[in-house]
């Protein structure tokens, strides 16, 4: 079989993820719950009344940290529920929203500890990045990449393992990765190439849409267009992130069980990584 290019490979992987999503449309409820949670938490933290009484500068940083950690928790919780059901979908069985969330509730301790751990690591890297010069920034950016690669399977490990220890989850995620793809990995690509093409196509569509706005359409026309673009963008982002999460679950099964789940092709799974050129 001739070797596929990065785009063709990414496209095939995206198609397989899309097939899973189409067969189990109910899975889309998870990212929607995550979005609703984000909106609710944002309005709670940044809604009217929060800044009213005292100097906002006194509270801004702790508030941002609290917001970030709560967001991490919400994201991890819905991701665990989502990935649990995706793994069931790979077996050809029916998925269930209730079962996914019930599973996440049972793993609440691990989710809480992981959210706190990952949230603090993220905050630390970001905070240090802002304090150092260009060299420090580069080093920390690389640390960020290493961290994101090492923790790539943390959610899936959380589903398969009883442990709630975040260091143990991180260790198992990175060893699963290293045993399969050795030490040449320099980044996770996933189905990013296709996502980039989709975003590019979306931007072209936006420019085409803008060119249709005529002054005689008045402010309402502009508002309607902006709302449509905003909604389309949100849908595109939710879809892209759901497809990538589905693919990541397939990649984890391939890495830990040695076999790619249907409808993925084992020969294409290695294309998910950016590899060091020798």
């Amino acid at each position: 079989m001739p070797e596929k290019g990065a785009l063709a490979r990414s496209w095939s992987l995206m198609e397989a993820s899309w097939e899973i999503l189409l067969k189990n449309k109910i899975l889309m409820i998870y990212p929607l719950v995550s979005l609703a949670f984000t909106a609710a938490i944002a309005s709670f933290f940044f809604g009217p009344g929060v800044w009213a009484e005292e100097d906002p500068a006194l509270h801004s940083q702790p508030l941002m940290i609290a917001f970030y950690l709560v967001m991490m928790f919400g994201f991890t919780f819905t991701s665990v529920a989502f990935c649990h059901e995706v793994m069931i979908a790979f077996s050809g069985e029916a998925v269930s929203v209730r079962r996914g969330f019930a599973f996440a509730r049972r793993r609440i301790k691990a989710i809480l500890l992981w959210s706190l751990f990952a949230g603090l690591v993220g905050l630390l890297i970001r905070n240090l990045e802002q304090r150092f010069g260009i060299v420090g920034k580069i080093v920390l950016r690389l640390t960020g990449v290493v961290w994101s690669v090492a923790s790539v399977f943390a959610i899936q490990v959380m589903i398969r393992e009883e442990s709630a220890n975040p260091l143990e989850l991180l260790r198992k995620s990175s060893t699963t990765l290293r045993r399969n793809w050795k030490d040449n990995l320099v980044g996770y690509v996933g189905i990013g190439v296709v996502s980039a093409v989709i975003v590019g196509a979306f931007l072209v569509a936006v420019f085409v849409g803008i060119s249709f706005v005529k002054p005689e359409m008045g402010p309402r026309g502009g508002i309607a267009l902006n709302v449509t673009i905003g909604l389309l963008f949100l849908v595109a982002m939710v879809l892209a992130s759901s497809l990538d999460s589905i693919f990541r679950c397939a990649l984890y099964i391939y890495a830990s069980e040695g076999v790619a789940p249907a409808p993925y092709d084992s020969n294409l799974m290695d294309g998910a990584w950016k590899v060091k050129k020798s």
Partner: protein, 131 residues
């Protein structure tokens, strides 16, 4: 069949792919006589549910075991332990290759558990002298 599944768990992060662990478990059960000639193996569905693994993983393990001549699959009726004569058709070279592969898997698993190869050798010698 139930005895085979009972207390059987797989280790997802040991470094040994799960399909290999399934192969090893079945091969070992056949070798020590826990699975007799002609005994039926659990169906793919049964085993994937019991071990909480993907059905493709069980299917691959069974395909490999069939390829090794240890089991035979009959469409519609399941997989069975192959008769001993069928297993004996291996040439000496093939048998050695399988023992080598088994040793490689054993040392890899031992390494994952932090066990030294020397300890395994001692263990084997001890078992041999008791036999």
């Amino acid at each position: 069949m139930d005895a085979l599944i009972k207390d059987w768990t797989v280790e997802f992060h040991s470094g040994i792919p799960v399909y290999r662990q399934i192969m090893n478990h079945v091969a070992e059960a056949i070798a020590r006589g826990a699975l007799a000639e002609g005994a039926q193996l659990p169906t793919i569905r049964m085993l994937h549910q019991a071990l909480k693994v993907n059905p493709n993983t069980v299917a691959k393990a069974y395909r490999e075991l069939e390829h090794m001549g240890l089991i035979s699959s009959q469409r519609g009726s399941g997989s069975f332990v192959a008769p001993a004569q069928e297993r004996a058709v291996l040439s000496t070279k093939e048998k050695k290759a399988r023992i080598n592969a088994l040793f490689a898997r054993m040392t890899a698993e031992a390494k994952a558990y932090g066990i030294q190869v020397e300890e395994i050798v001692t263990h084997i010698s001890r078992r041999k002298s008791h036999a």
